[in-house]
Each structure stands twice: as C-alpha cells, then as structure tokens.
C-alpha cells in the first residue's frame, strides 16, 4: 500500500522567487494496483515521481510504502523502489547483461542470485537476442525493455514508470504496454505516468490527475470525471489548459 500525504515541493526560479511544483499532493494506491498519473506539462508529475524515487526531497509531506516511511532513510528505502525515467538512463558502453548485473550488485543481490534474476528477466522480457550488445547500439524499444528489467532487478515494492513509451513506434508501444500490464505481480504498487490517455486507460484501472501541483481526483476514470464535472478526459484537459492560459 502506497500512501502519499500533503506532499509539497518548491523550486527557486533563479530570480529570487519560488515555483510551486507540488502544493499539498495526496493520494494512495493499494498493493498490486497500477495507478495512472496524468497531467499537463509542468503539472508536477515528474517532481512527484522523483520524490517517490528519493531523487528529490520534499519540503513537506510523508510517503509511506507498506507502512515504511520512504523519505526518512532514503538510502535504505531505495531498495523498495524501482524507477524508470523517460530517458531510460542506460550506460551506452555496457551491455544489457552487464547493466543488470551492475545494478543487482548495487541493490545488494549476491552474484548467483543476481545472475538467476537477470536470466529470469531476460527470458520474460524477450531480451536474449541483444543481451550482449552495447546499450548504445540498441533500438528505443530494446532500450526501454532493458530499462524496465533494470528497474525490476531487485523485485521492488513500488515500480515507477515515467513516460515509458516515449519515442516508440506503434508496434513497439503495443508490445511494451502488453509487457507493462503484466508487471502488477507480487503485490507491487505500480505508478504509470504518461501523456497518452488511451495508454493509462488500457493499463490502469485507477488514475490520478495532477494539476498545478495538486490532485484533481484519484479513482476510476468515471469517478474522476464526475468529481470534476466533465464528460470526458479530453474535455477536462482542454478546460484545464484554458484555465492555465
């Protein structure tokens, strides 16, 4: 169970002022649940995900994962979180196998266990044909697969996927979505952030819309629409864009 309460984060605008990236964001997600995170550019989605991945520290608020405070001891709680950023973040001169083994080592897996887990993920994500090629030479779809495998190597309790399908063609995207839909195993909480409504609807039974650092509702698409008095998500987004302009 993931519980986020009253998360706040301000950034300096470089001119002595402040930008409110998160302004009291609260939401929760149950174990084994995939929660879609939607929002316009600059709404605060990535800041929220980076805080959950312990890359940023919030100014205020708490994050509890199965009762453990994620922000109190970031170095220990990082073992519970798997994070895939929109850039995949792969070392281009390492092969996918070396990448998986390197991160398995950082996450404290023993050598034998790391090898077994890497083989398991290679088979599951269909990476065997490019597993010993340098990551720099892989296609975007292949890179995303390696990125997901890297995020899953230590069996995280919370899996964060930020724009996992960006830069993919239609076929690769469908294949990756199919793969992501099967990741809600072992009671893991999955946060899936995307700009594409149809992706969220396909993978996540529940979704949350972030606007100007706050949650506009968290639930099924129908519940969120009812809460915001809109008949469809595109209409709601058009309205939000209008209000922002």
């Amino acid at each position: 169970m993931l519980e986020v309460r009253d998360l706040r984060k301000h950034f300096s605008d470089g001119r002595g002022g402040e930008v409110k990236a998160l302004d009291g964001l609260s939401f929760s997600a149950a174990a084994g649940e995939a929660l879609g995170v939607l929002g316009m550019n600059g709404a605060g989605k990535s800041t929220c995900l980076k805080i959950l991945a312990t890359l940023l520290r919030p100014d205020a608020g708490t994050v509890l994962l199965d009762g453990v405070d994620l922000l109190a001891k970031p170095e220990e709680t990082r073992r519970l979180v798997g994070y895939l950023s929109c850039s995949t973040g792969l070392h281009r001169r390492l092969t996918p196998r070396e990448t998986l083994e390197f991160f398995a080592g950082l996450y404290g897996l023993e050598e034998g266990e790391a090898k077994r887990r890497a083989d398991e993920l290679i088979a599951r994500l269909g990476m065997s044909e490019f597993i010993d090629r340098p990551c720099g030479g892989l296609s975007t779809g292949q890179k995303q697969k390696v990125g997901i495998a890297r995020a899953l190597i230590h069996r995280p309790r919370l899996l964060i996927l930020d724009e996992a399908t960006s830069g993919l063609d239609v076929v690769a995207r469908q294949s990756l979505l199919h793969l992501v839909a099967g990741l809600r195993e072992e009671g893991r909480v999955m946060l899936y952030c995307s700009h594409h409504l149809e992706e969220i609807e396909a993978i996540c039974p529940r979704l949350m819309i972030i606007h100007q650092g706050r949650s506009l509702g968290c639930g099924t698409a129908a519940e969120v629409l009812a809460e915001n008095q809109a008949d469809s998500l595109p209409t709601l987004f058009s309205r939000l864009a209008g209000s922002q302009a």
């Binding site: 980076k50 070392h91 390492l94």
Partner: protein, 659 residues
C-alpha cells in the same frame, strides 16, 4: 562507514566504460606514448638536417667595391664558405647580406657594416656565421699586435673564470628535465583526469544515467569515491605513461646523439632510486587533480560545458609549474603546502637526487589534505539536488531585459559578473591611473570603478539599492565593538602573513609605505586617511558586502558565502603576501554584514582597520615596531581571545534583537 563493495562496483563500471571508449584511450595513452616522443624526435631530426643543409648551402653575400681587396673580410668569408658578389648596395634578390665599410674609430684597423633582411631567418644565420669568423680574425689581429708590442696575451684577459658542475653533464640534463618534466606530467594528469571527470559527471547527467545511479541504494559517498578513484587511476596511468615515454625518448635522443658523435650532448636517465618518490608524488597529485576535475565537472550541464570549466584548471596546474622554475623558490615553508608547485619542486629534487624522505612525506600529506577537502565538498555537492537540477542557462534578450521588473537583489551570475568585471577594470585601467598619479588614480579607481560602478550596475539591472545594499541602521554598540575588533584583526592578519611568508610580506608593505609617504606630502595625514582608509572602506564594501553579497544570499550556505567573499576580497588586492590578511578581513566583514543584516558595521570596521594601518605607517608612536616585536606572542594571544569574544557579543546582540 563506506561500503567498499559498492565503491568497487562503481569503479568497475566506470573502468568498463572507459576502456571501451577508444577515443578517450587514444588521447590519454597514445598521445604521450607516440605523439609527443615522435614530435620531439622529429624536431631533433629536422634541426640536425637543417644544420647540415645550411653548412652545405652556397650562400651569396655582397661586398662594397671598397672592400674587394680586404684580406680579413675575404678570409672570414672563405672560412664561412660564402660566395662573394661585389655590389654597390644591398639587393635582397641576389644576396643574403651586404657588407660595407665604416669609418674606423679609436685606432681600429677596419670597421664593417652588415646590411641584411632581419626578418629572414637564413640571412640571420649567415650574419651570425660571418660575425663568428670576423671575431676570429679580430682575435688573431689582437694577438699579433700584442706579440709585436712584446706584451703578454693575458693583458687582454686579466681574469679567467671556468665553471665546474660537480654532477657532470648528467646533472645538467636532470636539472633541465626537472624544469620541463613536472609541467608535462601535470598537464597529462589534468588532461587524463579532465577527460574522465567530464564523462563521469557531466556525461552521466547529459545521458540521463545519473538519475538511475542516484536512485539506487548506493550511497552518494560511495558513488563519489568510486568515480574519484577511477578518475585518479586514469590520471596516474596517463601521468606515468608520459613519464615512461619521456624517459624512453630521452634515451632515444641519446642514442641518436652518440651515433652522430655528440657524446656529451644528452645524458639523461631516470634515477631508479627516485622512482618510488616519483610514483608516490604522482599518485597523490593525481588524486588532487581528480578531485578538482570531478568537482568542477559536477557543476557543468554538459560535457562541452565541463570542458570549458576544466580549462582554468589546466592553467592553474601549469602556472605553478612555471613558477617553480624561478630561482630562489625552494621546497620549504609554505611551498610544501601549496598544491602543484610542491609537486614540481619535489620532482625537481627527486630527479637531482636531493629529495629527503621527510620532504616526500610532507608534500604527499599536504596534497592528500587538499584532496580530502575537495572530496568533502564533492560529497556535499552530490548529496544535494543541484546535481540533478542545475540552474538552466539564461538567454539574454535585450528587449525583455529592458522591461524587467524592479528587484530586491542581483542574481548570482550577475553578482559574479560584477565582481570579475570590476576586478578586470580596476586592474587594467586603475593600475595605470595609479601609476600615473597615485592620489587621483586611486580616487578615480575606487569611487569610479568600484563604488559608483556598483551602484550604476545595480540600477541598470533594476535592483533597488536599499535592500540590495543592506542600507539598514544598526545598533550603536556594534560600532564600539568594531573599534575593538579592528586592532585584533590587524594582529591576526599580520601573524597569518608572517607564518606563511616569513618576511616575504615586507616587500609589499614597503611599497605601500612608500606610496603613502609620497601621498602624505601632497594631501597630508587627514587626506591620506580619507584616501587610503575611508574611500576603500566605502567603495569596496558597496561592491563586496553590498551588491555581491546580495546575489549570494539564499543561493549559497552561510559558510560558503563567507569563504567565497574572503577569497574574492583577498584576490582583488592582487598581492600574494597580503592575501592571508585580506582573506581573513574579507571573511570577517562578510560575517558581520550577514549577522547584522547591515552594511554599515562592516564599513565602519573596514575604515577603522585601514585607518589603523595608515596612521601606524605614517606616524607610528615612538619605539612602536620594537614594542610589537618584543610582545608579538602576547599581542597575538590577546587578539585570539578578544576577537572571538567580540564576535560572540555581536551574535548575542543580534539574537536579542531578533528575539
């Protein structure tokens, strides 16, 4: 506690990445291994070949008809293998030079004037050859004249001096190698570490791999240590590759020289007993360069930007290497602690076989201490969020700049631009003005460039003066405390200067003393106090503790602000021997401005501090210097008690005020 397993994992990952990057490897190892020795050998070969070519080349020189029958000139030209052409004047198309007669004076037998194109290297060479031969003729004539007069040859050279280098030719070569090798090694260390640091820090950020690494459970300290060790190891390898390559090249040059009969020309071999010391010094200096390069590269947003940031480090490493070649600079006192310069001096001593174990230990310890300081800063930087989200580059747009809203303070980059701009203008324009006329030059530099310049800069950037300059009325007791701080600050600054430079600080004080004495004759003591004490106090405080401090507040931690203020204030005074004193004073003024939230106490303290120096220089009390010398330690101890007590009282007053 550091988790060394994670450090090892990060190190191994970096090593894998580097050893698969052929281009980096080429720059780091192939350049020193092939290119430098290749170029050196090629240059030596070319020099030798050109020398031979010039010896066999037929050179035509012109002589005036009047000199056609001149025996001495003909003989010199024959000896120099020159072809003679009789011409009335110099014609560069047909001859390299032309010799015409001059009127002999003071009993000279003959006098010649040589006309040649002094922009032509070959012509210069012919002139030099001809001159040598004519000098030989002159010597023969001199001796013949002495013989004719029945005088001893020694009458022309009553004194004879010969030099005997006790270490032989090899020591000469080692001495010269000691001047060049440390600089080359430092350069290679900076290049090796710099390339790696760019990739490890800025490269990771640019490729987006930094996030994935930082959200793993590896601690920031472990990541920093792993990367630092990798950068340092590559630096060491690069430095040693250069050392080995230079040694082999020297041996090759020796073989070539011996083959061509020049047995005494080059005789350099690396002394084996110096090798452990050289290795240790290289490892320690590589660690310092690695930490500095990684720290600088961590601020960069891209690899290109990191490359630009690392350029000053290259200069910072090479300039001390040049300074270490100056006569009189030895490995003792403060020099042992100064990074890079201590390495160069130690390498020189090691090559000459003069280094002691204690010197090696002292240099290595000092270098490792500097490395530790940089590593702490690095770990601190990597623990913060700046690393992941560095400030975006600002795009300058004249239209939007002109329409900016009024602000309460400068941005950090604007503040730094002001201080560096003011520094350059003060140095480039202020110094010549002061040399031309000290009184007017100093007044114009201080009031114009620093004081009014700062105010104008703030107004141009649409910054309100009162909040930016901290123009707040302080509590009156603060002024009384400042009166007490000023002399203690003088004593502590003076002690720091003496500790670091011994009597070396005396030269700068002497120059200031002379300048003040000269000014006193024109404007009197009161004028001197106004010009040398009050003027800098107002203008420099407006610049440093006003405009610059406003740009730093809230963007740096308080200790960092105080340190940077001290550093810049010290550097602005452009004197190494005065640096300790001005650095400490800058730190204290900055602390005072931050703690009291007002510019005035610091300005007052600065004025009293300067006035004390002026008064004690121009009209010292009787026996003042003797008294200070006799009670040096007592005064220092008293200052070290009174000074922190005063700061504590100010802190209490401010806390009470805030409470």
């Amino acid at each position: 506690m550091i988790d060394w397993k994670q450090v090892w994992l990060v190190w191994r990952k970096e090593a894998r990445e580097v050893f698969r990057d052929r281009r980096t490897l080429m720059v780091m190892f192939l350049l020193p291994a092939l290119l430098y020795p290749g170029l050196l050998l090629l240059t030596a070969e070319m020099g030798q070949a050109q020398q031979q070519r010039l010896q066999t080349l037929v050179q035509t020189v012109g002589i005036a008809p009047a000199l056609e029958q001149d025996v001495n000139l003909r003989k010199a030209m024959k000896n120099a293998s020159l072809t003679v052409l009789v011409e009335k004047k110099f014609d560069p198309k047909t001859m390299k030079l032309w010799v015409g007669p001059l009127t002999p004076v003071n009993g000279e037998t003959s006098a010649y004037g040589i006309s040649f194109d002094n922009g032509d290297g070959q012509a210069r060479h012919v002139v030099s050859t001809l001159r040598d031969e004519l000098d030989k003729c002159a010597a023969e004539l001199r001796l013949a004249a002495l013989d004719k007069a029945g005088l001893a040859h020694g009458i022309l050279q009553p004194l004879r001096v010969m030099e005997f280098g006790t270490g032989g030719k090899e020591k000469d070569t080692r001495f010269l190698a000691g001047r060049a090798l440390p600089a080359l090694m430092l350069l290679m260390l900076v290049v090796g570490c710099g390339l790696m640091a760019q990739d490890c820090a800025a490269g990771e950020r640019e490729r987006g791999t930094l996030e994935t690494l930082l959200c793993s459970p590896a601690g920031r300290l472990e990541i920093v240590c792993g990367k630092f060790l990798m950068v340092a190891s590559m630096g060491v390898m690069s430095g040693l590759a250069n050392l080995a390559s230079m040694t082999l090249t020297m041996s090759q040059l020796k073989v070539s020289a011996v083959a061509s009969g020049q047995t005494e020309a080059i005789n350099f071999t690396l002394p084996w007993e110096a090798l452990p010391g050289l290795l240790l010094a290289t490892v320690c200096t590589a660690s310092l360069v690695a930490a500095a390069a990684l720290l600088l590269a961590s601020f960069a947003r891209s690899v290109t930007e990191a490359g630009h940031m690392l350029l000053p480090l290259t200069l910072a490493a090479c300039l001390p290497a040049l300074a270490s070649s100056l006569p009189g600079i030895n490995l003792e006192g403060a020099m042992v602690t100064l990074p890079f310069i201590n390495f160069c001096l130690l390498v020189q001593k090691l090559l000459l076989g003069d280094a002691t174990v204690s010197q090696v230990i002292a240099v290595c310890s000092a270098t490792l201490c500097w490395t530790a300081v940089l590593l702490v800063l690095l770990a601190k930087l990597w623990s913060g969020e700046t690393l992941l989200a560095p400030p975006e580059a600002k795009i300058f747009n004249l239209k939007s700049w002109a329409n900016r809203a009024w602000r309460e303070r400068l941005d950090l980059d604007e503040g730094l631009l002001l201080i560096f701009g003011a520094g350059i203008i003060f140095f480039q324009l202020g110094t010549p003005l002061q040399s031309a006329d000290l009184v007017w030059g100093l007044a114009v530099s201080q009031w114009g460039f620093l004081g009014l310049g700062s105010l104008l800069y703030l107004r141009l950037h649409r910054v309100r003066l009162a909040p930016a300059l901290n123009l707040v009325k302080p509590k009156w007791p603060l002024y009384l405390i400042c009166l007490l701080i000023a002399p203690t600050l003088q004593i502590i600054g003076g002690a720091a200067t003496s500790a670091l430079f011994g009597d070396g600080g005396g030269e700068a004080s002497k120059l200031i003393h002379e300048a003040m004495m000269a000014a006193q004759g024109r404007i009197g003591l009161a004028g001197c106090i106004f010009l040398f004490a009050i003027t800098p106090a107002i203008c420099e405080e407006l610049l440093f503790r006003g405009a610059l401090l406003s740009s730093m507040k809230g963007r740096m931690s308080v200790p960092t602000i105080i340190f940077v203020q001290g550093l810049l204030f010290g550097l602005m005074h452009m004197s190494i021997s005065r640096f300790p004193g001005t650095f400490i004073a800058g730190c204290v003024f900055a602390w005072l401005a931050l703690r009291t939230r007002s510019i005035f106490p610091g300005m007052f303290l600065h004025a009293v501090f300067n006035s004390l120096a002026v008064v004690l220089t121009l009209c010292p009390p009787p026996n003042f210097e003797a008294y200070v010398k006799a009670h040096e330690w007592q005064l220092l101890v008293a200052s070290l008690v009174i000074f922190p007590f005063c700061l504590w009282v100010i802190d209490k007053i401010e806390k009470k005020e805030a409470g």
